[in-house]
């Protein structure tokens, strides 16, 4: 196998832009997923069936169907329905966020439910409201336990974002595919793409370890 570095070098500016878009789409999707997931998670934990049933259905749908299919539905269905036309980056962020929210919802739920029942009872017995109990007693303990699971989810999201090359969002995989098409070569585009993802997940992992230690 010969490896022609000059091809990679020629594509470097495009790959750099692709990498920026991957980082940007992933970051936005992580944030939206975290916020949406919190709502979905609390909805699922609700004792009121008109909250818990739809949220349960949401989680089942997004965890039980391929992200590939979800991206196509959002790109060709949902986004045109709302915007009147489609947009690859908007569709990509929407699909990744909706998908991620289903997973983070379960992480929130598992984290909160892992806190001993006595903590809640002690806080309530002191006269704290359920909201104050959640805010000052349960969440600070639960978030700490959620961080490793969130870390996994973020890393999966960065890697899964490669699927949006399918709808021509110009991120890392999109440019790698273009490179293969132009030069009819396999090793250069795909090994480079793999390396770029590895750099992203490695950096994120280091960041999470740092955050976990700080808390």
């Amino acid at each position: 196998m010969d490896f022609r570095f000059e091809i990679v070098w020629r594509y470097a500016p495009l790959l750099a832009r692709g990498m920026l878009l991957t980082v940007w789409m992933s970051a936005v999707s992580i944030v939206i997923g975290l916020i949406l997931g919190l709502a979905v998670g609390f909805g699922k934990m609700s004792h009121r069936p008109y909250f818990s049933w739809p949220m349960n259905g949401y989680i089942h749908f997004f965890r039980g169907t391929p992200l590939y299919v979800q991206i196509l539905i959002v790109h060709f269905g949902l986004v045109p329905l709302v915007l009147g036309r489609t947009d690859a980056v908007v569709a990509a962020i929407t699909a990744l966020s909706l998908n991620s929210a289903a997973y983070t919802a379960e992480i929130y739920r598992a984290g909160i439910q892992s806190i001993d029942r006595g903590q809640r009872e002690a806080a309530l017995s002191l006269g704290l409201t359920p909201w104050q109990t959640m805010r000052h007693v349960i969440l600070p303990q639960a978030v700490k336990r959620m961080i490793p699971a969130f870390g996994n989810e973020f890393i999966v999201l960065i890697k899964d974002s490669s699927l949006v090359a399918l709808i021509a969002a110009p991120e890392i995989m999109y440019w790698s595919n273009a490179m293969r098409g132009q030069y009819m070569r396999v090793w250069e585009p795909y090994l480079t793409a793999a390396l770029l993802y590895l750099v992203l997940t490695y950096v994120l992992n280091k960041l999470l370890v740092y955050v976990e230690r700080r808390l």
Partner: protein, 263 residues
Amino acid sequence: MVPWTAGQTAMVELNGVCKTFGKSMVLSGITLRVMPREVVVLIGPSGSGKSTLLRCMNALETPEQGEVYIDGVVLTGNGEKATGRAAVASPGAALHRMRAEIGMVFQQFNLFPHMSVIENIMLAPVRVRGLTREQARRKGVALLGKVGLEDKSHALPSSLSGGQMQRVAIARALAMEPKLMLFDEPTSALDPEMVGEVLNVMNELAEEGMTMVVVTHEIGFAREVGDRIVFMEQGRIVEEGTPAQLLEAPREERTRSFLSKVL
């Protein structure tokens, strides 16, 4: 000893309280009054419903039937005596206000592990009573002195012994200046050598005139500190009386048989 004054409002009044978990009846029609400044000790075999009864007194459990009154105000139930309709808890805000007046100490301490000792004590006075952090801190330090832990203010709960944790839990409850203290087997999770330090604090509290309801297996404590002992079995009150009556001359065979096992 507390005289049973007619016309005085009971600190706790339970009227025909029934509670089921699934199909098993845990409390079958409990009626009990605790007067201000009185110390009532609940004893009985495990599964007799004494902890559940205690938890009904601050609405951690909601009875299906019957009413619970705290200082004359309905906590759970529909507020009209002897109607037998399904009980409901006080609406949100009222419930939290009432719970703020009722201290509870748990078997497993339930200190907040992510907060230092002083923060554990300050949380509710700041968040519920609206004290400034400085006021709450002063109060917390004073209470730590009272339970003999003034030097542990900045320690984390995980660095304390069981007996120390339970004394912090008592201080935390007292910081709300409750008019009633509930103790749910406060010494059952402790190593034997630490039971005394917790009972001493409770003893002091009783001498200061705190109204207390205590679920315990410490018959010695019941005898010395209790004004009244209530013996429960299978969700019913079998017998109640002063420690002298109930421990020395129980009327019921079931009480005698229980006491013979624990004394």
